[in-house]
Symmetry: C2
Subunit: 137 residues, 2 copies
DNA sequence: TTATCAAATAAGAATTATTCTTATTTAACA
DNA sequence: TGTTAAATAAGAATAATTCTTATTTGATAA
């Protein structure tokens, strides 16, 4: 991912382009899992010792506000940030506490059909969060 | 719900029967929503001023351990406790932040079929958490 | 019933993720 | 290049939860 690409992503979303935002955006996209703010902070710390944890929090949150990334709450009440913004479910392993993405068209269709099938009256669904909890085999 | 009934519930689950556990179990079942530990604490406080918040936390957690109740994390990272232990989904209203139970046999069947239909290889699903996020109509 | 003892509780200190505050710096733009 | 609103660093503040320790209590057996 080039600097130019990231810069465009950020400015296109209406945010000022700053060094901190570039570094944090890049770190989040390089993370293979769903890092916490603190994990992002740790990832960038050595190369960018002057970026503060507060800035990481604030920056990630402004990325969420503008729709660049998603966030969700994990089982332990810690916010996790997700660079992939299209709808997907999560697999949570109770043993290792890993959280993995799970994307499946059939499941999406099934859920979509269920919702449009008038089953949820008095409620307008905007998004669906599915977490499969269990164990890796 | 009689005292005797609650007492049996608690002792059957392998826990000592105490006044505090009785009060907390009762309060949780009388709550119409999914209270936080603090809300349970507030509910019982006036009638039981000597029960401490720490005890509420510990007691709710031992109920979870023994399977008497369930807990889940809400959008704000606060634990919520749920007296109803059979599988169900939640409706989360983004406007009012209310969390309601949603139980639907068809949905349960659909999800069960999806899981047994080999779609999640390398992962053994033990439970599924579905949260519909949106707005009340 | 009473003594015993592991388990439960009260009280409050400690922890930890997150938010807030304020002074300083910086990016964007005229 | 100067101006200004927005962004940042640093660290204090907050709030949910857990931990610690001394005290109390329920269950069991003598």
């Amino acid at each position: 991912m080039t600097t130019e690409f990231i810069k465009n992503k950020i400015t296109d979303s209406g945010l000022k382009f700053t060094h901190q935002r570039w570094v944090i955006y890049d770190a989040l996209h390089q993370a293979d899992s769903h890092p916490t703010a603190d994990q992002v902070f740790e990832d960038i710390k050595s190369a960018n010792p002057s970026i503060s944890l507060g800035t990481v929090y604030k920056t990630l949150d402004s990325f969420v506000q503008t729709g660049l990334i998603q966030k969700f709450m994990d089982q332990n009440g810690v916010m996790r940030f997700d660079a992939i913004i299209d709808a997907h479910s999560h697999l949570y392993c109770k043993e290792t506490h890993e959280i993995k993405d799970f994307r499946n068209e059939e499941l999406e269709k099934i859920i979509h059909n269920f919702i449009s099938g008038h089953k949820l009256k008095d409620f307008e669904v905007e998004e669906v969060s599915i977490v499969f909890k269990g164990r890796k085999k």
